[in-house]
């Protein structure tokens, strides 16, 4: 579990995150959502230690990350996997070398053991056929899956995903979401995902933290979000008429006024 307490961060005197407190649970997909510029990425960068918060505390399983020295932080980071928005694969390396890299750097396993592990994680993300390809030869979805494979190759306890669905078509986004959810449950890791993809919110949002202008505006689950009375959240989530209609239909369904769209034709008459 990861806890954050009163995190604050600013740049050049301008506050970007203001007193955010939250808990991210193990074996669950914890989503941070919010409009562009709401401070999601800055918060995630603070969580993984790429940025140092101005105030507040970050606790990884009750151990304060903020109070760790450089050596302890380096040790902690080996328990962290991260999927970047642009995948951040090493251009000059093949898929195999990209995934092998953390194993080469941090383990003294034999070549055969490392190869076995690489094959395992590539199988897990259904990319065994791409072993010898370079990142430039892969599609956006494949790059994300290689990024996930690299992030989990050292069996991390914490997985961070920064906008895993950006630039992907809806179908591929679903594949990535499903994969992240399965990995989270299978490996019992704490997963934190930054996203503005509404499909992800509804599909995998076990815990959702909505940020607005650097502050925590709302917190709950994907089941609760539909009943939320928070106007800013509703404006953000159900931004389009189509999504608003979908919400209304879902509400009618929940209230028993329609039966899973079976009597849709009657309603439309």
């Amino acid at each position: 579990m990861i806890s954050i307490k009163n995190i604050e961060k600013g740049f050049s005197g301008k506050s970007v995150i203001e007193g955010v407190t939250a808990e991210f649970e193990t074996s669950k997909c914890n989503l941070i959502i919010g409009a562009s510029g709401s401070g999601k990425t800055v918060l995630m960068k603070c969580l993984v230690g790429l940025l140092i918060p101005d105030a507040g505390e970050i606790l990884y399983d009750n151990t304060s990350f903020s109070l760790m020295n450089i050596v302890e932080k380096k040790e902690m980071r080996r328990k962290i996997g991260m999927l970047f928005q642009g995948s951040a694969l090493f251009d000059s390396m093949t898929v195999e070398q990209n995934i092998m890299f953390p194993l080469d750097m941090f383990t003294n396993n034999t070549k055969a053991e490392k190869q076995k592990r690489v094959n395992e994680v590539l199988d897990r993300v259904n990319l065994s056929q791409a072993l010898k390809k370079y990142p430039a030869e892969l599609s956006g979805g494949m790059k994300k899956r290689v990024g996930i494979a690299r992030a989990i190759v050292l069996n991390p306890q914490y997985l961070f995903c920064d906008e895993p669905n950006s630039g992907l078509d809806p179908q591929t986004s679903l594949v990535i979401d499903k994969l992240i959810k399965e990995i989270t449950a299978d490996y019992k890791i704490t997963t934190i995902i930054n996203t503005h993809d509404m499909n992800s919110v509804m599909e995998i949002g076990d815990r959702i933290l909505y940020m607005y202008e650097g502050k925590k505006e709302w917190e709950g689950t994907n089941k609760e979000i539909i009943f939320s009375k928070n106007e800013r959240l509703n404006n953000f989530i159900f931004a389009s008429e189509f999504l608003q209609d979908a919400k209304d239909m879902r509400m009618l369904e929940i209230k028993g006024k329609i039966d899973n769209y079976k009597n849709m034709d009657d309603l439309l008459k």
Binding site: L50, K74, M82, G86, D104, F106
Partner: protein, 245 residues
């Protein structure tokens, strides 16, 4: 950002490179890779430049020494000393500042923008030590070797052109090379080569590593890195000449 802030950042970057390597084998592999990239990769351009510099030196020196009272061997002496003292270390390193400097700055800048450096940091790798130190060490090993090659080829280029054009037969040229040769000049040239090797890798690495923005900023960083490196080479050249000669 003023010059003092930049200098402070540069010093912190250098300081940050010296930590215990996470896996020595990987650092060694990267060092060897950089030796091949920076050293062998620059051999072609260094060879071409050196031969032509030696050749032009012979032609121009002989053009200026047409007096019958000056022995012809002096031409070879002047070519030898100018190549060893100035042309081989300084001109070679200024060219390398462009070739190697823009490559280092562009590579690190691209890694920064595409979050590859962040990915390495998240893994718990000291990116300054893994990405910058092997480049500097590889340059410190290979650039003095390139300068020695440049000296040899420069002097040979002068000899070849002297023969080819009939300005100076190689028997006279060879005799001139042996007159009043000061071995310390080679030591001085190598001292300059080590200094310049550090400049042409550390400065571009600093600009590339600290890029913020996008493709445009990578281009700007590369240009700034090359310009600053060249100016620093000339400044260091002057300071070393004043102190050591």
């Amino acid at each position: 950002m003023n010059i003092f802030t930049r200098f402070g950042q540069f010093i912190l970057m250098i300081k940050g490179m010296f930590t215990k390597p996470e896996q020595m084998r990987m650092y060694w592999k990267e060092f060897m890779h950089q030796c091949a990239e920076l050293g062998i990769g620059s051999l072609g351009i260094v060879s071409i430049i050196s031969v032509f510099i030696g050749a032009v030196s012979t032609v121009q020196t002989s053009y200026q020494f047409i007096s019958p009272i000056i022995p012809r061997t002096v031409i070879a002496q002047i070519v030898r000393d100018s190549v060893i003292l100035e042309f081989a270390p300084t001109i070679t390193c200024i060219v390398l500042a462009g070739v190697v400097g823009s490559k280092i700055s562009g590579e690190l800048g691209n890694m920064r923008i595409s979050e590859q450096i962040d990915a390495l940091e998240i893994m718990g790798i000291n990116t300054k030590a893994y990405l910058i130190l092997p480049k500097i060490l590889a340059a410190l090993l290979t650039i003095p070797l390139l300068v020695i090659i440049a000296m040899t080829l420069g002097i040979w280029g002068g000899r070849f052109v002297g023969d080819l054009t009939g300005i100076l037969p190689h028997e006279i040229y060879d005799r001139g090379l042996q007159i009043d040769f000061i071995p310390y000049n080679v030591t001085f040239a190598l001292t300059k080569a080590y200094t310049f090797a550090f400049i042409i890798t550390a400065i571009p690495a600093y600009f590339g590593y600290n890029v913020k923005g996008g493709a445009l900023e990578i281009g700007r960083a590369s240009t700034t890195a090359v310009v600053v490196s060249c100016v620093m080479i000339l400044l260091a050249d002057y300071i070393l000449a004043t102190i050591l000669l």
